[in-house]
């Protein structure tokens, strides 16, 4: 249901994605139809079983792929096959460039956007410092841990001052403790930049901890089953996991997703044990 009191930042209507038949393999209906409003300044996570089309949804929203049908609007302008100005994307895989230092990696997008060098220096120094990478500014990604490399990728997006940040399971390869700490940093980034964030994750805990709203998707073809509002305050941290309501949110998500996850691994509908 759309909330008339809030400003819609991005709108998805009737979005579908079908991968056509190829090399003797049948066509794959990967996504949709999906309708979703993303409100300005909110933190929304999307969860769902493996292969349900979460990453496809993000790529369509980012303009990195074309939908089969439906429309996407960002700030009232149609998105179609090109990443709009004001949208930043952080990918699941480590995408830091190994031939550039941390500083050069963070500056990469800015150097291609016509910003003057003094401003680049200021913004990159800020982003590097913000992500706690100041001591490693001259290091190469190969000299950093996985978590630090992902912070480089986030800083590279942050430096462009995006108004909408799309994150595709950015912490998937990290251990649980690092994920919690990275989650805190992401919340800090969200509060200080005021950007709208859409996070794709398969972790129900991560979605429940970080988000204002969590959208649960069905097994392929991914459709939105339900959107849950967490009701967390904006100044939350990873310590929200100690809150009794946190368990209720994750339990609700699991109730919605359990049968869908069973479908995704080929077990079909089964009733949960008592």
């Amino acid at each position: 249901m759309a909330d008339a009191t809030r400003t819609v930042h991005a709108r998805v209507e009737g979005l579908t994605r079908v991968y056509p038949a190829r090399d003797g393999r049948p066509a794959v209906n990967a996504l949709g139809p999906i309708d979703l409003d993303l409100y300005k300044g909110e933190f929304l996570s999307v969860v769902g079983p493996s292969g349900c089309g979460k990453s496809t949804l993000l790529e369509l929203l980012a303009g990195l792929a074309l939908p089969t049908s439906g429309t996407i609007e960002f700030e009232g302008i149609m998105v179609r096959g090109q990443v709009p100005e004001g949208v930043g994307v952080v990918f699941q895989e480590d995408s830091s460039f190994p031939w550039l230092t941390v500083w050069q990696n963070v500056a990469f997008g800015l150097e291609n956007s016509g910003v003057d060098s003094a401003e680049i220096g200021r913004r990159v120094d800020f982003a590097v410092n913000f992500m706690g990478l100041s001591d490693f500014a001259k290091s190469y990604p190969a000299q950093l841990s996985g978590g630090m490399r992902q912070r480089v990728c986030i800083a590279r997006t942050l430096v462009l001052r995006p108004r909408l940040i799309l994150l595709d399971e950015p912490f998937a390869a990290l251990d649980q403790q690092t994920r919690l700490l990275m989650g805190d940093e992401l919340l800090r980034l969200w509060r200080e930049t005021g950007a709208t964030i859409l996070l794709i994750t398969h972790s129900l805990d991560e979605a429940a901890m970080l988000s204002d709203r969590v959208a649960a998707m069905s097994a392929r073809p991914g459709r939105l089953l339900e959107i849950i509002s967490t009701g967390w305050p904006a100044d939350r941290t990873s310590r929200i996991v100690e809150n009794a309501a946190f368990g209720a949110v994750t339990a609700r998500l699991w109730t919605i997703l359990r049968s869908e996850s069973m479908k995704a691994i080929g077990h079909g509908e089964t009733s949960a044990p008592a």
Partner: protein, 249 residues
């Protein structure tokens, strides 16, 4: 220097010492081989006298031309084949089976066409060096991680900017392996053709010394050639390894 580098140097020094003893004691006759110490003295004399400066220059220019054409030509060929799927499907089997072809067999035909000058030697050397360069360019471009290209698109890079700022740097370690091979094969191609039919060049001088039983000059030149090729190749290989280590984590 690493421990392994010291071990390598020790092996070479040990082998030279054994050879020195075998030659000095007459186990290996002087007609077959001279002691390594004499080879070194001869190499130094050749360098100091400057008597074959023009041959060095001749070979150097041939090798430089062959490297230039192999690297540039191989890179362009690789890029063209990678960029055109039809060309790739058609030509790739030729490229991969090309290593079984000894380009030296074309030398007589090239002499007939171009005459007895540097052209046949450079062409043969390019035939040696161009294909490995093309194969490694294709391999490097094919190994670019798709997420790098997505970063380019997310940053709204133009096609040219994506090629120069992402694709070429990402493929660089593999392309550089191709450069290393192109350099090695160019040296082999030039020196071996100078051996067969040439009026100048290091290969020609080695062959001339051999024909005249002048072992001292022959081994001096062989040593100089070995030292130069080893130095060149190990420098390139060292740089190539460093790149690969950094890129492929």
């Amino acid at each position: 220097m690493t421990r392994y580098a010291w071990v390598r140097i020790s092996i070479v020094a040990g082998a030279a010492l054994i050879l020195e003893i075998l030659c000095r004691t007459g186990v290996v006759p002087r007609l077959i081989m001279i002691p390594p110490s004499e080879m070194m003295a001869s190499a130094w004399q050749i360098l100091a006298s400057g008597e074959i400066k023009s041959d060095f220059y001749f070979s150097f220019v041939n090798i430089a031309l062959a490297i230039g054409f192999s690297v540039v030509g191989g890179f362009i060929t690789g890029l063209a084949i990678y960029s055109a799927p039809v060309l790739r499907a058609t030509l790739e089997p030729f490229l991969t089976s090309y290593s079984a072809v000894p380009p030296i067999v074309f030398h007589p035909m090239l002499i007939v066409i171009f005459g007895l000058n540097r052209a046949p030697q450079v062409i043969i050397a390019v035939m040696f060096g161009l294909v490995p360069m093309a194969i490694h360019t294709i391999s490097g471009l094919r190994r670019i991680r798709p997420v790098f290209l997505k970063v380019g698109r997310a940053n709204r890079l133009s096609r040219a900017a994506s090629i120069f700022q992402i694709q070429l740097p990402a493929a660089a370690p593999y392309i550089f392996v191709g450069v290393t091979l192109a350099v090695s094969y160019s040296v082999i191609g030039v020196i071996s053709t100078e051996f067969i039919l040439s009026a100048s060049g290091i290969g020609h001088q080695i062959s001339f010394a051999y024909d005249n039983y002048d072992n001292r000059t022959m081994y001096g030149l062989v040593l100089l050639l070995l030292a130069t090729a080893t130095l060149l190749n190990s420098s390139l290989r060292h740089y190539s390894q460093r790149m690969l280590q950094r890129w492929t984590r």
